[in-house]
Amino acid sequence: MLFTIGDRAEAKKLTGAGIIIKALQAEGVDTVFGIPGGSVLPLYHELAVSNIRHILTRHEQGAAHAAEGYARASGKPGVCIATSGPGATNLVTGITNAYMDSIPLVALTGQVSVEMIGHDSFQEADITGITLPVTKANYLVKNVHDLAATIHEAFYIATTGRPGPVLIDIPKDLTTQRAVFRYPPKLHLPGYRSKVSPHALQVTQAAAAIAAAARPLLFIGGGVITSGAHEEVRQLAEGQDIPVVMSMMGKGGFPETSPLFVGMVGMHGTAAANYAMCETDLIIGVGVRFDDRVTGKIEAFAPQAKIIHIDIDAAEIGKVVTAHIPIVSDARQGLAALLEKLSGKGEHPAWRQQIRRWQEENPLHYERCGLKPQYVLEELYNLTKGQALIATDVGQHQMWAVHYYPLERPRAFFSSCGLGTMGFGVPAAMGAAIARPEETVVVITGDGSFQMNIQELATISHYQLPVKIILMNNGYLGMVRQWQEFFFDRRYAYSEMLGNPDFVKVAEAYRIPGRLVMTSEEVVPALTEALATPGPFLLDVKIDREENVFPMVPPGGTLNKMVTGGRGA
């Protein structure tokens, strides 16, 4: 058959769905997480025959968290897909979580056809309106010719500058209309600045402040992980003899086994880290946002300290604390510039000794009786030689995991830090396991958090992901119970998890092997079995029910006034 010229032009056109696939491929996407539905069926039709791997989760929230886990573990943007209406709204918690922790995520949502928008049509939700405050940018595409460029722009915005989630809402009719696939080499973003270089004068001032400080302290956050500044942090700390504290997001940004490492600061920070924060005369904050969980009462935060603040987001500098020397820059670039300016080695023996004394006087401590979560984590550390990827949920177990599983490398710890989302751990671990199949992934969770996305056991089982679930089962919403114990007269209002299932049987129902752990003697054999068994495994660990997290700075308190539970910190 002969083609006319018109036919040939027509033949070069793709459907909107085809364009989306091509654009995702152009962005290097190899894996997406999602659940199909009416308005994304044309997209799924094409997805099924593409080389992009689609992981079917059991809830869209699971898809968003899994995409985030994938992004954190791989350093690439995570992608999730949901249908219009309920599918899209189920993504909202996951998107918000990524927003709070600055994780690059692209969410594609189906939308009702263009002419149906605004009529409260079946499965219509104004998802761009809903996600406006929790996305770095979002789009409702209304013309098939804009699809490719919008996807290009979305990935660019999600991954550059301070990363974050971007949502693209795509009406169903666009995915069946045809257009030529054209990927614009250049973007036109007159209001966006992703690249900022450190200001030379400020770097010089920072170097001088470091040279002059008697009690300097490096305070690292998630920006160190995002920008890959691990090595620069180490050089600065070791070269200038500066102790290091971290926010939870900074975990893995500096080897926790180093003698210069002091611990996490803040509400559940170590005593030494919190005292150091109170006594330091120079904070070098890198890629960290001085969150209220970290600073405690602002007026009493680091009273003697000058603050150098390196952050890619200018709006973070001066938002919570006044920075004396602001450096708006990518953490890695900022540190590299600083290292260049610093000549000679620093020495702070007296300061180091003071910190060592605090550490010796207030070690992390728990009673060696019964079945303690801290002991489980210590043994997990021994058996995995500290090399597991750790995902956590939210609660007491999260804090124990931070303290009792020291890390040496970045991109090995995945936790919901800014939003504190229960239900994050299991799907995030799934995403991490898919991104890094050669690693052992362990989820530390609680019986409350676990049940918030327990259905993802099906996903883990189906894809045989090597995710080891350690359920710290205290039969309580433990962290809530702890607050009630300390601040609400021990009235445990609705924090007891009555009606919990037999979790080993639940796992079994999903064809995941499991084991109940009742005594501390069983811990090592159970962990050994879990780690040695290929694929997923669940340990239901019946920990001491009223074990608490120490130290603790009461909410709104100052960092050096910690509750230690009378047993040291």
Partner: protein, 172 residues
């Protein structure tokens, strides 16, 4: 402290929501906000009057700058600029008092734009002080309704001033 910000934004759907949402979400006080397109139809200008201390104003600027659609922000408060508001006032006006009202209208160089049996609509433009003054002068007659635009502002001369360097990212 009231500051007047002149903000250039891309003329895209949702920009106004984004800006207004940013103010409400972060707890900043907008005194007034006026938007319209510029000489370039793909770009709009917002004039935002915001109330807050230095730290708040700095945050407002930085947070606005983060919005992808915001091209440039200028705090023009301390620069010579022309600022205008428009007001429409519907005032009670029995025939017996119309003369008096017309005198007031003359003094403020305002205009009567509608006449009904017992009321008039008066239009006035000017800075906030003048607008307040005319409103106060008419109050004794009985004001039925008032509509005010927010303030719009333009720097005098050829000058423009940025709070922060504006961006231009091409994605390369």
């Amino acid at each position: 402290m009231k500051r007047t910000l002149s903000v250039l934004v891309e003329n895209r759907p949702g920009v106004l929501t984004r800006v207004a949402g940013l103010f409400s979400r972060r707890g900043y006080n907008i005194d007034s906000l006026a938007v319209g397109r510029t000489e370039n139809p793909s770009i709009s200008r917002m004039t935002i009057v915001v109330d807050g201390d230095e730290q708040i104003i700095e945050q407002v600027g930085k947070q606005l700058n983060k919005l992808i659609d915001v091209i440039k922000i200028s705090d023009i408060t301390d620069d010579p600029y022309v600022g205008r508001e428009l007001i429409l006032i519907k005032v009670n006006a029995e025939p017996a008092v119309r003369g008096e009202i017309m005198q007031i209208v003359d003094i403020f160089r305002a205009r009567i734009v509608d006449i009904a049996r017992n009321s008039l609509i008066i239009e006035a433009t000017g800075d906030a002080d003048k607008i307040d003054a005319i409103e106060n002068s008419l109050r004794p007659f009985g004001i039925r309704e008032v509509v005010r635009t927010g303030k719009i502002a333009m720097l005098r001369g050829a000058k423009t001033r940025g709070m922060e360097a504006s961006g231009n990212d091409t994605g390369e």
